[in-house]
Symmetry: D3
Subunit: 130 residues, 6 copies
């Protein structure tokens, strides 16, 4: 069970309701997931994190799907189950196929392996990469 | 200084030379970077890791640049300097702009933050994400 | 299910009972939690870890509540559910309010994010911080 | 060397200068450290991260020094050299003594150890901590 | 529930069946565990990872039990429950006693602690270790 | 440069000198490395950590070399340069060959990869491993 209560719409103060409404409008869904309802126990942190997330994850030089794949790669590396499951759903909604997900897993695993080979051997950075 | 010697072409046994040649052919460059020259101290591991890397990183359901971005995201999360610097160069070679790199950093930072908010509050996975 | 049996008082050899008694006396509670009962499968490790923990976590230059907050921050970063839940209880017992917990989560998330921004950009340490 | 140029005041566009000025005013110092000058390559990310950092790290239910200690604990766990060195300076400026720093290191080490003991033994969460 | 279906023998294409058969022959058991049945959703990744794992984990300069202990140490450090539970079973099958497991946990915890003490104090590498 | 001064024998209080002497006697060398000289800034932590390390790393159900390999595996996973370099030297002193080190690196890399595959696919633990 979560360590804090999930804040329902009915119990939400106005500033929390405003964030919930923006989540709904931005994501074009009526569903506000548990992460935000837990964060709502600190309305200022909810507002900060939601705004930050919305602004960073929107399309820019990188498209929105690529950003979801990067987000998933970090969550898999850190083994955050909530994050893996919720952002996998987000990535699927933005076009990630089952085959793309399997390839993503393969790249994440490879990078985690090769990171440790570089650590183990303490490989010096090549002049051209400095 | 690396914990193992870097194996020059002249000192490389035939099986190592074969891998170096495949690296050169695959990457269309004469340069074989330190990572492979350090791994070459164990020729079988060199062959395994190179083949694995070549096969995973090639274009498939995900294009080659997206795979480099995912690889970079993992390396940044794990703080592997060698991996960050060498794969940033690889990503630039495949089309990553300076603006894309800054956005990648922003997404990686955000995911690392939100992973910890989910951990801290021990948020239960929503029914729809199970 | 735990990978080792939890050692009840009745099954505990004398050296384990002595640790259990010290835990009870130090914490002013009759309850010995699962962590110690699992560690008791190696009585010497139990004694080492308990003594180490008791000595480090006691008030010194840092007060006992601050130490619990730091302990929680590490456990959240590493996503150790047992550690988050048990040390949150310990922190609450020492005076952590719900508001303090939410702020702690915010700081931990921020630090995890900014750590990755520094990694990504490979920022050189300023002369004045060396 | 950093992977991006450090943006001097003279080269900074107006929105970056505004952030630099707020850093100076908030911290009551003329010095803007490398982290912000590197982030300034993405003026919107600079503004987001600075605002987020300023708002989270200010005194609230937790005082500003406690927040710095928590930040340091995360940075030590993740081994981010830039973050350890710059936030140690910040913590010293807010009152951290040499003795407090050594105790902080001891708590961070202990928590990292005990996190792994709980992982290894897969200790079930006690009913009372759920 | 796993994010991908587990592939039964009956649903497996020939290339997957070939890997399942090699797993059975190599491990001298009829049981193919969930990890491989999940990976089988990407037959090429399954073949790559199985071959890589079989070749690395076989006895060489390090015996097979030592390799399992090292594998477990990594899995405990990263808190991968699946990996801890399945490789503990593998290690037991190769001769790990209950006492050895407890000592392994103690070493892993110690190393994680001392890693952070070195990080915290930013200890310079001794001339003789360079 | 380290964040704390390294304590020379001449500046060491009696309790620190006692630890230095025990390090020398246990390791049969006159050399006390930087890690301990940095920790000596907190004499009680130095005594705790040294005693803990000496007791855990001594031969038991696992021999001393196996313990060093496990310690190295953790340090490589966490990318602690000081720990990798100093414990590699310790492992070599206890009999680790160049070939064993390369195999160790291969196992550590593999485990880090496979941990992430299990994370990504959220593989359910098999009944028999519970």
């Amino acid at each position: 069970m979560a360590l804090v209560p999930l804040i329902d719409d009915d119990d939400a103060p106005a500033e929390v309701r405003a964030v919930y409404d923006d989540i709904r409008a931005t994501r074009k869904t009526d569903y506000v997931n548990h992460f935000w309802r837990a964060l709502a126990n600190d309305p200022r942190e909810l507002a900060r994190v939601w705004t930050h997330t919305r602004d960073v994850m929107g399309a820019g030089a990188l498209d929105a799907l690529t950003k979801e794949l990067v987000y998933l790669a970090v969550s898999i590396t850190n083994n955050c189950e909530y994050c893996i499951r919720s952002h996998r759903a987000a990535a699927v909604a933005k076009g990630m196929s089952a085959e793309m997900f399997m390839e993503l897993a393969a790249v994440v695993a490879l990078a985690n392996a090769n990171n440790r080979l570089a650590n183990a051997l303490q490989v010096d950075v090549d002049e051209r990469y400095r």
